[in-house]
Amino acid sequence: MVQSTVGRPAGDRHPDKPPLSLQNVHVSYATRRGKVQAVRNVSVDLHAGESLALIGESGSGKSTLGLAIVRLLPETARIEPGVITYRRKDREVDVLKLSRSEMRAFRWSDCAMVFQAALNAFNPVLKVWAQALDTAQAHGWHDKPAIRRRLVELLEFVQLDPKRVIDAYPHELSGGMRQRVLLALALLLNPQVLILDEPTTALDIITQRTIIKLLRQLKQEDHFTMIFISHDLAIAAELADRVATMYAGRIVELGTSDDIFYRPRHPYTLGLIRAVPTVTGGFEQLFSIPGSPPDLVKLPSGCKFHPRCTFATERCQQEEPELELVGAEHSAACWNWREVQAELQRNPLHRGALNVLDGIGSEVEGS
């Protein structure tokens, strides 16, 4: 029932043609201090029905990359060089070449962005119904009763009582309700791709869980293609099929969720995982990464992570490594990834799962 109304029609799924392909994408900002290189040389294919998490700290370029895909960056930003290709059924478009009006159509009906549920993601003087109507009409849909039916259906899908919500102003809703309304609004025009920027940040724990359950349902039952942007590794572990670690504007590691969490090959990914505790399970020794993220105007030479990296060698100071295959579906941009592998064999990760779950240990390196 939900599948037929909210989900993707089966014809949308072309396993060999990714709905979204990013090739060599760069984003820079002109500032008084100079050019900020927020995203550098990002290439990644997003497969139909897959969920990809972009993880990294503030300034890593993950949000900029998300905004670049729907071209919502401020005017001082330039996306070049780079190609973003979007495919739906037999249609193939170059997102960066779309005109303003084509871009507006693309934004909600092909690729919807779900922002963090702060109040400013809404127009504060419009009721939920008016926001939906506005959106639909802006995209040329004027059948009011049909729009209302669709909205009611979506609000029920995100487990809200339409009667209570549809005529409410944003400020009358709690944070969790606002996030669910945003999700319902994003689905209004039946997009193929959803980009979710910090979908659970600033929500209470139990509310986070209801949002995670909802997103899992969208993923598992309705096969939406999704990009999660989060500083919280737990969101990636809970929701992603694949994870991309970003550092100083680049993807430095890309792999399945298990690759990234149990077999990381980039020292930065390893550092992040060793810095984050789990709740269930025994005590984990945690370590922080020395130093702080780089100044994007004056990036270090060579590998941008080398000043903070314990594996750094002379080569790292001079040459920036490209992503190379380190496993079947796993790539990392590190000259010394074999050293990282050896280090993990010497000092295996002590994740919560290892302490608690039997049979999981065999999948994890070094145990």
């Binding site: 869980r209 500083h231 809970e238 969490f261 984050v276 789990t278 709740v279 269930t280 984990e284 922080s288």
Partner: protein
């Protein structure tokens, strides 16, 4: 050992008339010297209000705060000043808690001179450099001349810690002290705080919404869980994390997203009867968790506020229905 800090029936209300909100409702707990206690809960549970009352920044509506056995409202002015120095608070946001127009030198020198911790400005300078070394802001001679905007979030939070240390506190309330700091840096700040605890005998009340951080920081200490102004459960961290007894604690622990795909898959999902947290303006009668609780006993849970009672496994639980029953958090 006598507790360094004790609160008895501590209560704080905001607003008046029908708009009165009881943010903290008659809570009692004690903290021994050298102990690390984490106060956890979701927004609106009263954890920050409690922290502010403990630090003397907010007056209690009822109940008392005892510091080293003495009620802080009955101290004479000298003793009160000593208490305000001995108990320091570190706030969440290092962007708004440091004066942007002052250098690190000015920020740290002022309290040293004001509280006569040093004799003259030369001694102050030396002490500031020493404090910067203690919080791992090196080279101290570079950092001392900087303005807050020239520092990263993590470095600012270290300055905030150094400022708390200027007055030689024995007790530090850390209110979401690392929540705004990047994950890669968080651990180093927690490690630094843990070192202060050992080297300077500082007792910590660590307030956070992040159970994973609470577990890590207070592994040898205790966790107190609050819900809508009341303590629902407390106990040694290792017991509370592995064998939670209050249905709310269980729901919270089962809901926490885990940074580990296998754990995320194997977490037990506790279904609540209601997703939304009730408003403090219209608190449910009896146990405030009863409208959401999967184990609710009608006629009991909706009538009387359950007392916080000791459990054999350690700590206290405010749930007569479920306090004997262990629940596995994994499937």
């Amino acid at each position: 050992m006598a507790p360094i800090l004790e609160v008895r029936n501590l209560t704080r209300q905001f607003g008046k008339g029908r708009e009165t909100v009881t943010a903290v409702d008659a809570i009692s707990f004690a903290i021994e010297p050298g102990e690390t206690v984490c106060l956890v809960g979701e927004s609106g549970c009263g954890k920050s209000t409690t922290g502010r009352m403990v630090a003397g920044l907010l007056e209690a509506t009822a109940g008392e705060v005892l510091f080293e056995g003495k009620n802080i409202r009955q101290l004479d002015s000298n003793a009160y000043r000593r208490y305000r120095q001995t108990v320091q608070i570190i706030h969440q946001d290092p962007y708004s808690s440091l004066n942007p127009t002052q250098t690190v030198r000015q920020i740290l020198t002022a309290p040293l001179l004001r509280h006569r911790k040093v004799k003259n400005s030369a001694a102050a300078e030396a002490r500031v450099l020493e404090l910067l070394e203690i919080v791992d802001l090196t080279p101290a001679s570079d950092v001392i001349a900087k303005y807050p905007h020239q520092l990263s979030g993590g470095q600012r939070q270290r300055v905030a810690v150094a400022r708390a240390l200027t007055v030689d506190p024995k007790f530090i309330v850390a209110d979401e002290a690392v929540s705004m700091v990047d994950v890669s840096i968080r651990v180093s700040i927690l490690t630094m705080l843990a070192r202060l605890k050992r080297e300077f005998d500082v007792t910590f009340l660590f307030i956070t919404h992040d159970l994973a951080l609470a577990k890590y920081f207070a592994w040898e200490g205790r966790i107190t869980v609050m819900y809508l102004g009341r303590i629902v459960e407390d106990g040694p961290t290792q017991r509370l994390i592995t064998d939670p007894r209050h249905p709310y604690t269980q729901a919270l622990l089962s809901a926490v997203p885990e940074a580990d795909p296998a754990l995320a898959q194997h977490k037990r999902q506790i279904e609540l009867r209601g997703a939304e947290i009730p408003s403090l303006l219209a608190l449910p009668p009896g146990c405030s968790f009863h409208p959401r609780c999967p184990y609710v006993v009608p006629g009991q849970c909706d009538r009387t506020v359950p007392a916080l009672e000791p459990v054999e496994v350690g700590g206290r639980v405010a749930c007569p229905v479920r306090k004997q029953d262990a629940v596995s958090l994994l499937v």
